[in-house]
Amino acid sequence: MNWKTSDGGWNPYLAGALLGVLAVVSVLATTRILGKTSYLGTSTTFVRAAGLLERTASPDQVAANEYYTKEKVKVDWQFMLVCGVFLGAMISSLTDRSFKFEAVPPAWAERFGPSAVKRAGGAIVGGIIAMVGARMADGCPSGHGLSGMMQMSVSAFVALAMFFGFGVLVAHFVYRRRQQ
């Protein structure tokens, strides 16, 4: 087994194990420093981002919405965590020269052609469905998959099985047809 992968990345077992260390240190740090235990997660931030954007157009509607009120529209710890993910990925990719502007993922182009508009449409539709699901399930692969599993939450085992089960099913239907 190699420390580096053929595409210049780190061994995924090693990078993953380091993320496990970060997750534990982060739980400890939020508990000690902020007095409020926070686990890694990302999908609630999309609710807050939507609320912040909508608030610029119709503040009353956001204030009156039960779900926005429940999730609290503000730039909190998790919101900044998500901003950090963007920066961290940028720093890592620029320093190891894997940063690349890409309009259409190669694997998508292989199946659906090089149209950036088609890809954007697929990403938007997929994104809407995925986020409605993530909010309903109260978590995504970070909140359920990483944080929930680490805590041995029952909901995490079930959610992850559903995520992956349906992901496999739909991916085979969407990406495999033409190759056979």
């Binding site: 077992y13 993953g16 997750a23 235990t37 961290g88 890592s92 994104g127 995925a130 986020m131 995520f163």
Partner: protein, 176 residues
């Protein structure tokens, strides 16, 4: 910036750095896992879970931190999980990886993030309906596997490790 925001930003930078180094931000890796051809994201994720599970268990048993389970709401987790899986396959990203992919220049991920913001706004509108229907079916509350099975978490830990390591061995044998 408040201390809370700075801590979040710092943690996120390392999180994004590791996601990028693990090469799990690629559309190809996400779809590769769903087509059962490339298990990089599972090697990465399960390794994080193994290490995290030990750390969280030790700290929570010592009383240093508290657990924060998400509720086992049957309708929410089953239907929501299924919807997420469908969207994930089409989009090729999950929420965190879409933002990371944007950071490594894959700007098509912007549309994935845009779709998810729209999805969140839609969910905020549909919430009263879901609350009265799907979310109201059956809720077992915030439970962990140890309480649900009535066994010690220290007994679950080695079993989980054994299963995951067997899966890793299988991945390597099959070159996934």
């Amino acid at each position: 910036m408040s201390t809370e925001q700075m801590l979040g930003l710092g943690t996120g930078i390392i999180f994004g750095f590791l996601l990028q180094k693990g090469r799990v931000l690629r559309f190809e890796k996400q779809i590769g896992a769903m087509l059962l051809k490339d298990m990089t994201i599972f090697k990465f994720m399960l390794s994080a879970i193994l290490v995290g599970m030990v750390g969280i268990l030790v700290l929570s048993q010592a009383g240093t931190i508290s657990l924060s389970h998400k509720p086992m709401n049957v309708g929410a987790v089953l239907l929501g999980g299924a919807l997420f899986g469908c969207g994930w396959a089409v989009m090729g990203y999950c929420p965190g990886t879409s933002i990371g992919a944007l950071g490594e220049g894959r700007w098509h991920a912007f549309f994935a993030a845009l779709g998810m913001i729209l999805g969140a706004a839609l969910y905020a509108r549909l919430y009263p309906f879901f609350k009265a229907t799907v979310l109201a079916w059956q809720d077992y509350g915030k439970i962990g596997l140890p309480e649900a099975l009535g066994i010690s978490p220290w007994a679950i830990l080695p079993v989980f490790f054994a299963v995951v390591i067997a899966v890793f061995v299988w991945f390597e044998k099959k070159n996934l």
